[in-house]
Symmetry: C2
Subunit: 447 residues, 2 copies
Amino acid sequence: MTTLQNGHSKKPLDVAIVGGGLVGSLEALYLAKRGHRVRLYEYREDIRKTPQARGRSINLALSIRGRRALKDVGLEAHMIEQHGIPMVGRMIHRLDGSTYDIPYDARTNQCIYSVGRNYLNSLLLKESENYHNVERSFNHKLIEANLKKGSLTFLNTATKEEVNINADLIIGADGAFSAVRKAMMKQPLFDYSQKYIEHGYLELCIPADESGGFQMPASYLHIWPRGTFMMIALPNQDCSWTVTLFMPFENFKELDTEEKLIDFFEKYFPDSIPLIGRKRLIEDFFSGSPSPLVAVKCRPYNVDDKALIIGDAAHAVVPFYGQGMNAGFEDCTLLDQLFQKYNDNLADILTEFSSSRWRDTYAISDLAMYNYIEMRDLVTRPSYRLRKAFDDLMFWIFPNLWVPLYNSVTFTTMPYSQCVENRRWQNKVLFSIIILMVFIMIFCAFK
Amino acid sequence: MTTLQNGHSKKPLDVAIVGGGLVGSLEALYLAKRGHRVRLYEYREDIRKTPQARGRSINLALSIRGRRALKDVGLEAHMIEQHGIPMVGRMIHRLDGSTYDIPYDARTNQCIYSVGRNYLNSLLLKESENYHNVERSFNHKLIEANLKKGSLTFLNTATKEEVNINADLIIGADGAFSAVRKAMMKQPLFDYSQKYIEHGYLELCIPADESGGFQMPASYLHIWPRGTFMMIALPNQDCSWTVTLFMPFENFKELDTEEKLIDFFEKYFPDSIPLIGRKRLIEDFFSGSPSPLVAVKCRPYNVDDKALIIGDAAHAVVPFYGQGMNAGFEDCTLLDQLFQKYNDNLADILTEFSSSRWRDTYAISDLAMYNYIEMRDLVTRPSYRLRKAFDDLMFWIFPNLWVPLYNSVTFTTMPYSQCVENRRWQNKVLFSIIILMVFIMIFCAFK
């Protein structure tokens, strides 16, 4: 697995990656495979040595774009076969506790996988130890960056020492509140937007049952859609469920007593109370506070041939399409393809990545915003189910031509912007069909 | 003029304004009139003592919203009668040098005024000297801000001393690259976006003629619309014209020799060459470099009851609607109305300003982006002139009901978001009229 792809005799590049999360540690593997020297700097402690951090989403939906990247670094099979829990569709919970399922892909039964964030991050870091050319530094907080010169200053928070380094390439994979991006913002002509939605999220838990099994059918993403808010649940490997309540902050504020909380759950999520347990519901709800959700768009992603941001640092999205990690992993795959195409010429690689990638990340960002409305509201409407039935039928008849939006995003590696373009084209066709049918009906009526 | 409006016996507020430009110095007057203590901090030297800075737009279009604010502080009459040059419409220059005019308001002949930035800024600063409760500090650069505590640290760039101050209220009026806003960005749930357009601008000059008069009809805003780029000219008080060329940066780059520049002007702006003068055109063009244009949107504008941003700091817009200064001045007027409404209660004032103003500033920002396309391209199209003729006719018949978009933005104080809403409603009516006419025509044809 440690065989290097970089067979040519050029001097390997010296790359500094800021951020040892999912995207940073995956990028380290891609670069290490190419024979470059990688130094990975992480602000936090080594995740493998710390207990689970509360408040960050602890499981994620792995779909085809993420899987392709893991395959490239030799970890897909392990994640899918040993760890991931397949989810074949959405299981909708009605107000009365009854349920029905909506498969993601009725035609070929493709599925997404619920995976643990910490597990995957640890696996990627552990894998990097198989490469002699990767060096990991934890407890390193970025305090200064001169991106044009390729120099960084870290504070070692354990020893309180300052560490100065230089690199051929700096990659910022330091998340939605990226310090590398902050340094980039000083350059002229940098477009930037951060948008908080008016909803926050809070995580709860459905434990395993007494015999250690799942309390709900495990191969679904469970949704309690309630119009202006919703709750979802993803299965964990220990047969528990991570439950996430998404709701306007003002509604969270109103639930300020145990009584109000239980009344609220009895009204909107009655079937979840025995699953979570009344005592645990109260404890978990009041021990945390709702976290905000931010979407970040920016461009360009590079500074000359010296620095680049990827993953959430470049395009944090709201979580409703399950594509945050997948899009970040796809950054690494595309970057690897550009390293191949341009034979490690950083100027060409960074320029092309920067000038082409933003269209797709902007598209998935907009889709994720839209999907919140679909998940919490539209999904329950007859019009949605009718459209889905139509799309599924067309997909069955024309499997290569009529790929429904969700399927193209989740089960193909078609650029996100093209998925959106496809949907527009399908809408036009559907609209034309309806108009045609109306004309035919009028014609028949008057005949 | 120095009579104080604040008749009640409450303790005056201690207000620190960061930025002594147009909006900051106007806000100082508004607050001084109410009897509050105002300290105004400006990063640059006193504008009254420095020669004209090159590269910043030196004349501006003053319209009704700006006039209303100047009236409130007793300066409107002076600006309109002694200084401003009325512009009653657009004068379009065709490729062959021939011209035609499009009046802004054919019905009542309302006009906008070309005013000098430095002149107006100096006037506002001078006026503030009439108030004993306004203190001006120049060469004060903000280097740290704790907005929650209401404390600021400046570096006096003349003496190199640090100056620490505390205030009841901090107002950031420090422009598109606001340091106060930067401090605000650290608070959670702050929405922010900065967008650079792909066009830059460069200023040229048409001097007065030999007898000291205008070389072109002075009561117009002159436009050379050329599709993907344009040139405009606004009259100055010394009978010269400030000419601004707006164009994609890449096109600027292509004009890298004197020959290419002259060829370009001969092709697209032939009538301007004798007006500017060939030698001066070359000198001015190559002595500067094109400046970028940025639009900033953000919210909220306040931090608790302690800090607020206004003007370009809160909502920098591209200059194509001539509303940047007017919108900033309107902030001051609205704020003054809120001081009146809430009897100086800062929590109420700042909360209402922040929760209501953004809709209008977002609207004018979008309108300004759109207007660039109108000015450089649409204005020459028959469809545009047809629509304008229709709007003017409807405005003439229904002066209170059908106010065209440009007129409502420029000649009324209707909230910007309502101007946009009005236009949407007018579009619907127009669309319905067209559909109706088509039906009638079909009906007549088949009868």
